[in-house]
Assembly symmetry: C2
């Protein structure tokens, strides 16, 4: 764009910032990131960044490593901040006070704060979900109440400016919902078209009764004990 | 496992290998990679790797860079090879003879060859889809016929040992289908439970009639001309 044709007061770009930290579940971050990246190609005024403590490759719970685009110090002003989740490394990150403080200060600068899967446990540990309705991965849902949040079993839950999704793949649905709120349903449908999100789960939707989530309580306990072995106070808070 | 308790003839691990190259659409690779990574945690005998020409960060069509775990030279013997897609960089990669040759030789060693989105255009350019029913991202579907493939509008298409998915998010459905074939429906349902794949697209399924895919033909032509400006022979083959 040439200087002469630029409007005098451009609408500021809305930056959707995704947090990256070691060991996360990549589908948690890539699902909604892809949605908002397609939005930024189809609608003016949106941008995406991935923010980490350092710009270097970090492991995930798959063989793929990811590299963020910015640090918390170099990122542009965020419009929305979205925190992905994971398994044990995310539980361990609940004790990472340095990361939690960065989430607090960045969330305070954001109009929307969101999470996917156990990313909401990081928001909760940062004190950002007190008194709010929220969701997380089904296996970890009961933990939200330990931080004063109100666990809700919905695909995504909006309470004020905080929106929290269910596990892993739910971040795609939440992101499309947010695109609809920000840019309108027609634009959201166009984004959905370009990521060809026309789901056909080959075994149908989840049969929650047959899945019997309650059977996984010992697995949750094991995860907490493994991840928080070095943080007995937090472990006690989550298991008592 | 101690030496004394190890069976004398262990079942070889089935390695699911995902190809990474510069500029791809990360959801194309991360969707099915997450599915198979969860499988490898819940069922013995499966492993995942991400294979690139070099183990170094590569850009994607989002601000995130990805780092593969192996090169084609260091990867273990693949059971399945899955090629993700993307936009212009994937179209440009159709002219990358070095990559195509690696796809050919690796596919020849694999029991299953798969693709997500325009990844099937790379398989097609490598000569691997001749006479086969196949799919790709809806916008690029007509191009498959230029390489002797038979374009099919299904969420995923299996023809012999080759399985090709529709665009981007379809890789999740295809991967769950493959898990069902390899490890059985109960295991596939458990993987689906752990990635909480219980889709609720906020605006419903894609309304293909309203979406009017035909209106995007000029956009496809523009993509081809941009991506293949330096490859006039391939450009002519795809546009004539």
């Amino acid at each position: 764009m040439t200087g002469s044709s630029a409007p005098q007061h451009e609408t500021p770009v809305k930056t959707i910032a995704f947090v990256q930290y070691p060991g996360l579940t990549p589908l948690d971050i890539v699902g909604p990131l892809q949605v908002f990246s397609v939005l930024s190609r189809h609608a003016p005024g949106y941008d995406t960044v991935v923010v980490g403590e350092q710009i270097e490759p970090m492991a995930t719970d798959t063989p793929l490593s990811l590299v963020p685009s910015h640090t918390f110090e170099t990122m542009p002003d965020p419009y929305a901040l979205i925190v992905p989740g994971g398994t044990n490394p995310t539980v361990a990150a609940m004790a990472d006070e340095k990361l939690l403080e960065k989430l607090r200060t960045t969330a305070a600068r954001s109009k929307i704060v969101g999470s996917v899967c156990t990313g909401s446990l990081l928001l909760a540990a940062a004190g950002l979900l007190e008194g709010r309705r929220a969701n997380t991965h089904w296996m970890y849902r009961s933990l939200l109440a330990k931080f004063g949040a109100i666990p809700v079993n919905e695909r995504w839950v909006k309470d004020g400016n905080v929106v929290t999704a269910a596990g892993v793949s739910a971040g795609i649905d939440m992101a499309l919902h947010l695109v609809g709120e920000l840019a309108g349903p027609d634009t959201a449908r166009k984004v959905q078209l370009f990521i060809e999100y026309d789901p056909e789960p080959p075994f149908g939707p989840i049969d929650w009764e047959a899945a019997d989530p309650g059977q996984y309580t010992p697995r949750l306990q094991k995860s907490l004990h493994q991840a928080l072995a070095d943080h007995p106070a937090l472990l006690k808070r989550l298991t008592s």
